[in-house]
Symmetry: C2
DNA sequence: CTGTTAGCGCTTTCAA
DNA sequence: TTGAAAGCGCTAACAG
């Protein structure tokens, strides 16, 4: 902001109108006579005038900024969702302010404080972890919030968009059982994520219905820690199917299984979750739950936009349908 | 912004000082007597007062927002860089505004217009494509810009941070040659990216020095279009080494080569670029250039911060060192 | 249809 | 060390 920028005054001066008129052609063009509107627009283009979003925000008490609070951008699920959000935010004329939730020494208090200070008109919460503290902060917020791809306690009433992870896990577990699999392992993350917990619940339910004992291995999302853990486990445990709560975990298991001499999918079938590029690059290619993350992002932005316009949502908890992609790591 | 927020006036009132004093304890605490400072701070905490960033931005003519213009968030290189940026931005007290550069029908003109309007104090440009138009816009910007992970023409003087992709490609090509490889293929993207061009230049230089003919295959970054193209190519072309300009492309080639009955790394050695999780999940694991993307993000944010403080940079074009990670897809 | 006039919530001289 | 007052660039009544 060193060079002087052209302001609404200069435009007004050059167009021989008051600044109010310039403001009107920008915000309510229909309220201005066509001839003057065109004259003003001409000057705007000529001068390359761009209304100062900050001043506009202050005067109108709405910033046209939305905040998105996210954990790690390198997570496939958040990256794609952000792409979806960006697409719509742009169409709606909102700018996106990002609030990383996983900094070194940032408490969720700090994050919410930043969100409040930034005067965003709404917030999209993509951070997988929602603590009671977070819910508390959310309830004190004066702007609408939409929670995407995070499961909340049943009694929460915040607007959410999700896929039914529990049902997805239930469904593939059932499939494996129906194909005669009896030692179905769930490769779960060590850290607790609401979505991964849901997957586990679905998995457990299917097994229980079939009277089969669960085999749950808690491990990391990182390949280099995964390999030894999984190798160790598979050496002493017999397994004929594996469900990884993430594609990367599933592929790590698949690789280990093959290294140990098992045939995938004949001896062991493997399913993942997410349908990332990782699934396609595995050999055999990974069967997986297709999570339409981009869609989730778009949908949540759409809901937020409705809320920011003070309109009612026709559905508070949106469930986006998932797909099951069968590839080489499973039979049929 | 529906509920009323606490403003500086209320704090001032309750603390029995003028709003100027409150402003001072926030911005120049040393200029306020300790006793009143503490009193004011007490009220601030009690009321949960958060200065309105928008108003502050307007009055001070600096927004404490930085803009980052990025293509696709799902690209591993940008996601990690954004993580690095976020870490430092946060420490420095800047908020991050993102400007997606690859929307449906967004021209670079629109993107820059948005950037200008948003009143950011500086911008980080991570978008791989830099057109002449972009350079033009950059030159008219009144705030500092740092360009990360993008190669510019030699005559540009903008601050940049990169790794030496040309040298990296040159180096691994030399390695392959020194191990007796004579039919070294470069799996290149179809679309032109400045960084990938640099890789090609390094590759070509090494081959030329050795008097070996280049084999360049232009293909996509997407696995499903890659497989048929690469399969087709490798069926009719003999090759004893492959360098993929991205890990994902390299792994696709590796998989195809093995499917065609070649032994990796004995018959064909494979190198990738980036060192993503993809490289670790391949079998054999992919040897690759380790690109410290997170570091690049951090470094560029650091430079931007210096520039925004009107201090001089001691280096305009920063080159971050890369690593070469040898894994199972190459010999030794 | 257009202009005048208050602010939005804060920073920043300038005096006191 | 503190307060008063003048804006920052814009929107939004309210008149005309």
């Amino acid at each position: 902001m060193k060079k002087s920028k052209v302001t609404i005054y200069e435009v007004a001066g050059k167009a021989n109108v008051s600044l109010a008129t310039v403001s009107r052609v920008l915000n309510y063009p229909e309220k201005v006579k066509a001839s003057t509107r065109e004259r003003v627009m001409g000057v705007i283009n000529e001068l390359g005038y761009r209304p100062n979003a900050i001043a506009r925000g202050l005067a109108s008490r709405k910033s046209t900024f939305i905040g998105i609070v996210v954990p790690d951008f390198s997570r496939a699920s958040v990256a794609e969702a952000v792409n979806g959000i960006a697409l719509l935010a742009n169409q709606y004329g909102y700018q996106i302010l990002v609030f990383p939730a996983e900094g070194e020494n940032r408490s969720s208090k700090d994050v919410w404080a930043d969100v409040v200070a930034s005067q965003v008109d709404g917030v999209l919460y993509l951070n997988d972890l929602v603590t009671d503290k977070d819910v508390e902060y959310m309830n004190t917020m004066s702007v609408p919030i939409v929670i995407a791809n995070v499961l909340l306690d049943k009694d929460q009433t915040m607007p959410t968009v999700n896929i039914d992870y529990e049902r997805a896990a239930y469904e593939i577990t059932k499939k494996l059982i129906s194909r005669g699999r009896k030692q179905i392992m769930l490769a779960q993350t060590r850290r607790e994520y609401s979505m991964n917990n849901a997957k586990e619940i679905g998995y457990l339910r299917a097994l229980k219905e079939a009277g089969i004992d669960p085999i749950v291995l808690r491990t990391s999302g990182k390949p280099h820690v995964n390999y030894p853990v999984v190798t160790d486990f598979l050496r002493k445990t017999t397994v004929d199917a594996i469900i990884g709560v993430r594609d990367s975990i599933a592929v790590a298991c698949l690789n280990v299984a093959m290294d140990l001499g098992h045939n995938v999918p004949n001896d062991i079938e493997v399913y993942g979750f997410q349908n990332t590029r990782t699934a396609l690059l595995a050999r055999p290619q990974l069967s997986t739950i297709d999570v339409p993350t981009f869609e989730i992002g778009k949908r949540s932005m759409e809901m937020l936009s409705i809320l920011m316009n003070d309109e009612p949502l026709d559905q508070n908890a949106v469930i986006i349908p998932y797909g099951i992609v069968e590839r080489g790591s499973t039979k049929q």
